[in-house]
Symmetry: D2
Subunit: 390 residues, 4 copies
């Protein structure tokens, strides 16, 4: 029950996410969860019939279900202020990120966009510039930074509890692309392994960018150099499905980033460990309500969501008391919630204190695209270290 | 995107759950999660001002925020069919369960009610009878049966994978009442330890009923006799805050039920183990996406939510692919979702296949109240075994 | 490298433990581990040929391998003091505990004896009296008290870290008797399920006594009343293979003891949890190098063997640095080591400080037999509580 | 009770391992554990007084405690065959590996040697040649390959259960050198961080070699190229205390090797994961009795030591039934046991079937030294990949 400053739900339009899509439904649940946002319109598919069918299943009035995002943005703009959507949530494959996002910004709509932000780095920079020009809000859904224990981890590092950070190990093994599912009609596999839809990276674009964001989010250090070795294990696949990367950070830390979609038997085993002079942190996405804090000469502590020892500003992102597990959808919901608070404040013309609407944005998206560029360059190079520049 | 048969969201009214309440917000998130239900009205507090303030924070129109549940039920009944609430969700302390539920049924509203169902067994039986007479739907929120892995456990037992069931160990240790928080202004502690609001049982009513329901839900056997030893560890407390119970079941199994609210350091550590001739099951609420299945002569298996090995009818209750953890709110949401499917079908005049709208109902509530009666009798008795009758 | 006061290895004779036996080999490894004890003679089987064969495989000289324990005790007594065994280790089934132990004591030999101490309580009391009369040392191998983390748990309770103890949950589920293995030639199963060899209890004698000892060892409280429900799940079996017991303790704690040998799929899953006013402990035998210490308002701590936070007097029972796991054999070895230290000191005529040779002894054995008596009586009674007296 | 072919214990002499040493005591316990080996002599320290004191504490006769390994080897050679040591176990720092090992081989004694095998690669090759010439047995104590679940892992890979191996992740984080303990009188830290005693590598020599051995032992593939980044985090330290390495294998797999001694809060957290086309393996040294086997479309299995599903030839290396945890000392003991079986057979002039005396030997030691050479070269190079040649 947090006042969002404008005394009404924020109105969301959606691009993509029709029947059979995975991430669109996730976005809807996340946006819906806290009662701060309502879905008011959508262009759910490039196939108008499919879009219509999806809108119907979502109980939308027929005239707010559009045949294309172009139509949606144009039409919504014509609606009275009290009715038209406030922001657009874009949940299409990578190659359909840039254009709807740019068009939304140009037409005064705030934007929620999935990662990786765009098809290539140049598009990302254009979006960044446009967002800066327009002053519109932009949420890039690096979901994992929405987990309370990830935020607690970041806070412990920021507060200096671990001392100077020396090591960052981040890994993201999945197994679902261990076979050539893209040839068996798996729609998720299909576009993710297609360079025309995904861009020049497969595994690293899909999950490596999350790993990098998490590493920098928690450690508070930024990658300066990397050394990448990418692999394509499934015959006939055009994009890498696996990769190992050495990292060096600006604060003196070093590390490793592992991402794989052929680690057969793994689900979504994102995990990060960060070590400083006095101790280390360990967090696993699959058991997200625990954060192990290891100390040099004292017993390891298990920090738990909404339980004793947690910082109050982080605990505010827990919806339930300790022991009532929250998960991926709630983490996703935290991003939408922060976005809703910020947007509500903005629409009400109020100041909003930095830190309270802590969500990844357009700069994180540019950084992710620069990471992919750097990884591809490094992989093709015989040099050990490739500088990471944005 | 599941059609709910009537092509609109179901309309929910809420009794209780104003600012500062715990379980009301949980119910709203759960009901909201899947986009099948919308909150349209409420009597959020017995204090009309507080109710109004809560309704405002929830963006409800002023005229749908009522000063009492009596007013709400009476007024809503006057509204046109296309506008008035379809069902009422009652999230008040135990002593305010029976009256609003009975009044709702009498006025043609379906009911969602928190456990334990009523203040005493007699009230529970009256509700059961009224529900039967009216044919209205009744959801009793034994949340834990909404977890996919709990349903998978039940399915494995039903399918005979474990052979005849011999042992059921269920435990529910919490630590949050280890001190006399009820005297320090903790509202949750206050009513739960007050016999005038909770009824004749404390710990067993609050969490023991969940444990019993889970044990019977998974094992498919029903308790026939029990032997209870209740304790009150915190000085001055009027209701038991802890108890150990031996169980005997109608299918020949025996077991133990442990519940405690003074197990200092525990959060909400509900756990169940069920053993049959061929193997056993183990599920822990705090890591709810895993189900251990232990075999007599083969390696233990870890069944995981939305992953390989899961029964399709259970997997339908997962919103995300394997490795994207779901938790308590999603389990709660599953109860509301099943209820919404059943209610949508009913309102559309359609048949609904048994099993698909699998949710605990009024008979489970009566059983829980009978359990509390039996536990209290057993505790006061010198006889080892007290028969469990409803 | 700890001086054992007498500058030589202690000389052990063994009764039982020939080829095919389980626990005899365990005793030999445990006794051998720290280089303080050497096996010098044995009567390994009631079958003289088998005994001889076993002695040969153990590299013993022919004349120190005896055809019976009677012969061994008699002959060894005749040997010169510098050659004859110092103590006897008795590793036979329960019905062959009392006689060799009594004969050893009568002939001046110290005794190591497996649990349960004897066939019945009366025998146990006779041994206790004889041990007191002779002043000979007596080690009863309640192995689990030899684990460093069990000792750390005890120390934390003794030091008052948890406050007054309220709850003790101890459980010992095994699955290996889930089928009638005793009829398939399994020697271990065979004598354990035979009342002529095991005594009047099966599961409780074999593993329930361990659970009780552990509960009292760590909690520092003694059982005063119990309520037992025993079961025999495998058809045709003459002794119980499962049981659930409610406990009350002299310090005001209450608890539950679960033991089962038909918990199919479990190995040797002894686990104990103890809760006080401020926090709780949890230790699992299958992951014995960790001790969870849970606090009311602070993060749970993981105490680890030989790592930071451990009491020095307990750390002395770790042979390796933190992270080099020790297990069951090392715990067993700790009992033999403490016994060797105490016996070395005694033989050297030195004082030995209490607490340093912390090992279970004849009084623990009597207590275990009294527990079995009480459990059997309670199981047959309709009264809820049976007083536990020794 | 396994006949070692020669009907007597094998006689061990020890070089190093006096009072205050860590690994010497480990070797003695491991050698002693199964009753197949007895310590008969030693040169426990380069300080003759200290050596003598140590020998006394170990109950050795004065004349078998030597002031130097040179003296020991020379004197023992003079003893009658039925009395003199059979083999020497060398447990000194790295710079005192080569000379005693070479001298032992030259004098007809079999050798047990700690890793890394020598001070540099050249010494290692000399030992390899000498061992080949003499036909003497050589055990290099890569302890972790002695764990039953590691052997089970290897067997599953060899049997093709996982399909073609694609990924190998091995990590060995420790935290004990997070501060400059070498300057605070920590003897273990002191020689390990001193290039004059350790050789040219610190962390990689001490633990990286173990990680590499384990990776190749389980995966059955051999490293062909690596890319190393070494770091020294503690100021003033002369050898690296941390490193990240990318790996490529001859069977087409790729991987990562992480080793650190500044991962503050970690104990000895060696862990390996191996993924093939059909599934993956995960084994953690700190919980060594479980082996996770993950499958692409089926539930993960937990293989457990001495429990159902284990290969009989691996189960032979378990001393206790399932659920009785074994650890580091037992793994170490398995190497000594295999060595004792092989040596007993050799001394008895018998054939011994390959595979049964599975223990790491001189070739593994050479490989480890070549690894260190390659790592150092790679670290100093700007080239991404350095070929790994022996």
């Amino acid at each position: 029950m947090i006042n969002n400053s404008i005394n009404r739900k924020l109105r969301m339009g959606m691009v993509g996410g029709g029947k059979g899509a995975f991430i669109g439904e996730i976005h809807r649940i996340a946006a819906n969860m806290d009662g701060l946002i309502e879905l008011v319109c959508g262009a759910f598919s490039s196939d108008p019939g499919r879009s219509k069918e999806s809108g119907e299943a979502l109980f939308l009035p027929e005239h707010r279900v559009y045949g294309s995002y172009q139509e949606m943005i144009a039409q919504e703009r014509q609606l009275p202020e009290g009715e038209r959507m406030d922001f657009v949530s874009i949940v299409t494959p990578n190659h359909v990120h840039f254009e709807p996002a740019m068009m939304a910004l140009e037409n005064g709509f705030h934007v929620v966009l999935d990662k990786p932000m765009t098809f290539d780095l140049d598009e990302a920079k254009q979006l960044q510039q446009k967002a800066a020009e327009t002053g519109l809000l932009f949420l890039l859904t690096h979901t994992y930074s929405g987990y309370p224990m990830v935020r607690q981890a970041r806070k412990l590092v920021r507060d200096g509890a671990l001392g100077k950070i020396r090591k960052v190990y981040v890994e993201y093994p999945q197994g679902w692309l261990s076979r050539s599912s893209e040839q068996d009609g798996n729609k998720q596999a299909s576009w993710r392994t297609d360079p025309a839809k995904s861009g020049k990276s497969g595994c690293m674009g899909d999950i490596g960018t999350h790993a990098l964001h998490l590493a920098e989010f928690i450690s508070g250090q930024r990658t300066t150099h990397l050394c990448a070795a990418l692999y394509t294990y499934v015959a006939g696949r055009k994009l890498e499905d696996d990769g190992n990367i050495l990292l060096r950070f600006d604060g003196g830390a070093s590390g490793v980033l592992i991402a794989s979609q052929v680690a057969a038997g793994e689900e979504n085993a994102l995990k990060i460990r960060v070590y400083g002079e006095n101790g280390g942190l360990e967090w696993s996405q699959q058991e997200p309500n625990s954060l192990l804090v290891k100390w040099l000469d004292q017993p390891t502590q298990i920090f738990r969501a909404a339980a004793g020892g947690m910082s109050p500003e982080v605990a505010a992102f827990c919806r339930t008391p300790g022991g009532h597990p929250e998960g991926y959808l709630e983490a996703f919901g935290n991003l939408y919630k922060s976005f809703a608070w910020a947007l509500g404040a903005k629409l009400a013309g109020k100041e909003w204190q930095a830190g309270e609407y802590d969500f990844p944005s357009v700069a994180d998206g540019v950084r992710g695209m620069a990471f992919l560029d750097c990884v591809i360059r490094s992989n093709e190079s015989d040099e050990k270290w490739t500088p990471f520049t944005v």
